[in-house]
């Protein structure tokens, strides 16, 4: 079919242009960001907490700390709920309920992040301020908001991982006299372990890259956080807060912040890919 070929070629072109966009972005942020890291020295840039662009001081340690704190917090909250959801939906709930709940969870992914941020500012932040003290805008607030935001990502990948476990495992375990719960915790979760780890890492990648909601609830202070109730600034919020104004070395430093973020997210994705390819459970069945 000649028509098919033409359309195939057009679609291939569209796909390639999308990928070349990625390539261009990569080249661009590295070209803009790397020179200033070299000029200041990696130590000055990565290991200093002194960020004062008007005085030419660009140290992003407190923001790296902020991003990590918020991401780990989000993963901790996200994992508990997502894993619970994934287990219930694949193992314990009647099929009708799963069919109703799954689209609802996916709907969470469609809510714009500014809405999450707004709800966080209006409800969560005052709640933390009044019950736990501190400014309210905090690592805790950001972790909770991000934890909810990454729920759909982790849940849906974890569901896939759990469903990929061969039913013979379940049958074998039940036949050996294990209860349903023992089967889930001792057999199915272990068999799906690599997929679940991949799900968590991808969730963390989404959390560390989130910007708008974090700016709204994290407080954006430049201090390294000492407690869950301290405000933090993440790498992403630093870029978004200052990009509009920045010029010269300041702008380059923001691109260098972007390079840092790019490398962290790439590493996370490679790790996730590595874990999801490793499926010991399946290969042993075959």
């Amino acid at each position: 079919m000649k028509q098919d070929k033409i359309i195939g070629a057009i679609l291939l072109l569209v796909a390639l242009s999308a990928i070349s966009g990625l390539g261009l972005i990569t080249v661009f942020i590295f070209r803009e960001g790397v020179p200033i890291i070299l000029r200041l020295g990696a130590r000055q840039f990565f290991l200093s907490t002194d960020w004062e662009p008007s005085l030419g001081k660009f140290g992003i340690l407190s923001m790296i700390g902020g991003s990590l704190a918020v991401t780990v917090g989000a993963a901790a909250i996200g994992v508990v709920f997502s894993l619970g959801l994934a287990i219930v939906l694949t193992q314990f709930s009647p099929p009708g309920l799963s069919a109703a709940l799954k689209p609802l969870i996916e709907l969470l992914a469609g809510i714009p992040s500014v809405v999450y941020g707004f709800v966080g500012v209006v409800t969560l932040v005052p709640l933390i301020r009044h019950t736990l003290g501190g400014p309210g805008l905090s690592v805790l607030a950001a972790s909770i908001v991000l934890g909810i935001m990454i729920l759909p990502t982790i849940t849906s990948i974890a569901i896939d991982a759990l469903q990929a476990v061969s039913p013979t495992y379940l049958e074998g375990s039940i036949a050996l006299g294990a209860t349903r719960w023992q089967t889930v915790t001792m057999v199915i979760l272990r068999a799906a372990r690599s997929g679940i780890v991949a799900a968590v890492i991808l969730g963390m990648g989404r959390a560390i890259g989130e910007t708008m909601a974090v700016i709204m609830v994290a407080g954006n202070a430049l201090e390294v956080p000492h407690s869950l109730l301290d405000p933090v600034r993440t790498l992403t919020s630093n870029i978004a807060l200052e990009m509009g104004y920045a010029s010269g070395a300041h702008r380059q430093a923001l691109f260098a912040t972007g390079v840092t973020l790019f490398v962290i997210i790439t590493l996370l994705n490679i790790a996730a890919l590595g874990f999801s390819r490793r499926r010991p459970a399946r290969s042993r069945v075959g």
Binding site: D4, A221, L222, P231, L241, Y245, H250
Partner: protein
């Protein structure tokens, strides 16, 4: 081949959309484009609406982005007029033509339930630099002080640093918010907070503090007794174009100045 026809049609629709968008862009050439300070943005929008009503066929497009972005836009020709809510630096004055359209008091705001009614400039500096950490040291109730600042590069922040901080740096512990609205929201809900914002945007829910015993009011700014005042500028590269000049004339006319005053700003002269 239903699917191929569908794809072709989809591509066609995309193409048509692209073409019409290009068309709509060129149709709006008769507008005056303003870009810059988020402090000036709401006022410029009000001015633009009145201007468009008064002179049929003319439109004013207003975008935010911040004072420095406004300067860049004016220098690259992205906007006809850049909006800047701080004094230009010596370097910038050589490149741009500033037009003073109004002045704005910088109000120091605290929660309405905070008993403190006024601070000296020195106390204010100490609070924001993080040298004074408890409200009771400046005559308030026992409790932590939470300074709230604006992001690096904001015109409001730069004016505050220039007018208040001197050689001191704003504490790293200060919460950073990216708009007047966000600062307002935070101070409204937090007894310990202290922030700064445009006098015209304070509203009724916050308490604006006296600074060195002077109440921040439009009257005191005009009289020159309230000293935390910054210029609000329209900035062009070289002389403004004819359409932009007409809009500037409107803004500087008694009518335009009256509008700005009604919105809480202080007239240019």
């Amino acid at each position: 081949m239903l699917s191929t026809r569908f794809i072709l049609r989809a591509l066609g629709v995309t193409l048509v959309t692209l073409v019409t968008c290009v068309g709509c862009d060129s149709a709006s050439r008769r507008s005056v484009g303003l870009l810059g300070s988020t402090s000036l943005q709401p006022f410029a929008e009000v001015l633009g609406e009145h201007y468009a009503k008064k002179t049929p066929g003319q439109f004013v497009e207003v975008q935010g982005g911040g004072s420095t972005a406004g300067l860049q836009a004016a220098s690259h020709g992205l906007a006809d007029i850049g909006m800047c809510s701080r004094a230009l630096t010596a370097e910038e004055i050589r490149h741009f033509t500033p037009i003073l359209i109004a002045r704005d008091g910088l109000a120091i705001v605290v929660n309405a339930e905070n008993p403190v009614v006024g601070l000296s400039l020195g106390q204010l500096r100490a609070l924001f630099a993080g040298r004074v950490l408890n409200w009771k040291d400046v005559g308030g109730k026992d409790g932590p002080v939470r300074p709230i600042t604006r992001e690096e590069g904001s015109g409001t922040r730069e004016s505050f640093v220039r007018l208040v901080m001197g050689d001191d740096r704003i504490s790293r512990r200060a919460l950073t918010q990216e708009s007047n609205g966000a600062v307002k929201e935070l101070v409204k809900g937090d007894l310990s907070a202290i922030g700064y914002m445009s006098l015209g945007l304070v509203g009724n829910e916050l308490k604006a503090l006296r600074v060195d015993n002077v109440q921040p009011t439009v009257k005191n700014v005009l009289a020159g007794s309230y000293t935390l005042v910054r210029p609000l500028l329209f900035v062009t590269k070289g002389a403004p174009g004819p359409a932009a000049q007409k809009f500037v004339d409107f803004v500087l006319s008694p009518e335009g100045q009256g509008l700005l005053e009604a919105e809480g700003l202080v007239r240019a002269r």
